[in-house]
């Protein structure tokens, strides 16, 4: 299946045309549009990003059965990976999640007073869940990795601890989808719900890929650095 994957000679614009969800990925790499006819390689070099890492993310976002090979995984610059993850966290927390909650607040107005209150509460709880989740990564996990990169030893923390803390925030999102599709009153018309549902679907699939990136790639890379340290 390898020949189906994106490659560095392809035009950057063609990647977006093939999978519009990459529109969310570009800003995380701090790449803008106005791509012209530039190839993936050219754009990455211009922005100082590792081409193989960029392609890996795009392939992961686009092809469900894609699993990166060990060699290209070992070549990912950890700084690029963390910068990418940080940028996406900021976007999730500051733009995408608040946008979804704002749109649900409009739906609250169509509901019976008390039902609306319930929905509001659910959203508040969800907001807190997402914030806690990402703050944990920003405040505990990333600084730990950065200290590893500076070759500082940290006896207490291990990346294994992080895996078990990785609560699945997609479960609540899925609940929200079910509630909107199945149980809102008739006053909330399809036209009213559609927008937020599409946002949720997109956010959900984005989070899913984001989780893959953290669970499969980040964790195994960090575990390797830890092993190198322990072996010393």
């Amino acid at each position: 299946m390898k020949h189906y994957l994106f490659s560095e000679k392809m035009k950057m614009a063609d990647l977006i045309l093939a999978n519009y969800q990459l529109l969310y990925v570009l800003p995380y790499f701090e790449i803008g549009l106005r791509l012209g006819e530039s190839s993936v390689k050219q754009v990455c070099e211009k922005h100082g990003i590792s081409v193989s890492f960029f392609l890996m993310v795009c392939n992961l976002y686009t092809f469900d059965d894609y699993t990166p090979d060990a060699l290209s995984m070992s070549q990912i610059p950890m700084e690029d990976l963390i910068k990418y993850l940080r940028n996406s966290h900021t976007d999730y927390l500051e733009t995408r999640m608040p946008k979804i909650i704002d749109k649900i607040m409009h739906l609250v107005d169509c509901c019976h007073l008390k039902n609306g209150e319930m929905l509001k509460k659910f959203c508040e709880k969800y907001r807190k869940e997402v914030i806690t989740h990402f703050n944990y990564e920003e405040e505990k996990v990333f600084p730990y990795i950065e200290s590893l990169l500076k070759k500082e030893k940290n006896a207490k923390y291990r990346i294994k601890n992080y895996e078990s803390n990785h609560s699945n925030i997609n479960v609540s999102l899925n609940d929200l989808k079910n509630i909107i599709i199945k149980y809102l009153p008739a006053e909330c018309t399809v036209e009213n719900c559609r927008d937020v549902l599409i946002d949720i679907f997109l956010f959900e699939s984005d989070l899913y890929k984001h989780t893959l990136l953290e669970d499969r790639i980040l964790i195994s890379l960090v575990a390797r650095i830890e092993n190198m340290f322990d072996g010393q």
Partner: protein, 207 residues
Amino acid sequence: MDSDSNLKIIIVEPSPVIQTGLKQMIESNSEYTVFVCFCDFELFMEAEKTGLQFDILLINPAVISFYRQFSIRNMFENHPHTFFVAIIYGYVSPQILENFNSTLDIYEDETKIVYKLQQIMRRFDELSIRTGRENVDLSDREKEILVLIAKGMTNREIAEQCFLSIHTIVSHRKNIARKTGIRTVSGLTVYAVFNNLLSYNDLSDNN
């Protein structure tokens, strides 16, 4: 136990090692349990004649005598909704496999087998939703338990209040999650209020 709403999975496989392995993988990776395992096809057929019902049949085609392998569908005419899965560990003619809904290659690594099993369960769920086979509305008992969950009670507390075993409560919870598509307690609370199972005032102190 409320067996009507539970999926009945049966394994027919001569090797006890593979039987146990599959059973363990299914049970630790899905919300389902394996109902019964058979080592021998004839024993299974005897049980079938006495009215054994099942939803998913995982069967090693090698246990079926050769001339009957091609007509497995006809043998089970009384089970039009059953999902047939072939357990594969050698060459099996594609003509035989045509009779099955899906296959499971035991030489795959664990993640792939688990993924495949989950896919099979999901396909079965979709099939039964499409054919309307499963009763999708919550039963009265399930509604009662859902309300208690929404009030923030634990499985143990619910079991004590309803005079049921914890195991039964867990299986009710799984069915509720499958029917509503909602898995978190706060999501179920929203469901309960929206469907008038619970008034908002009942919640204000503990939620």
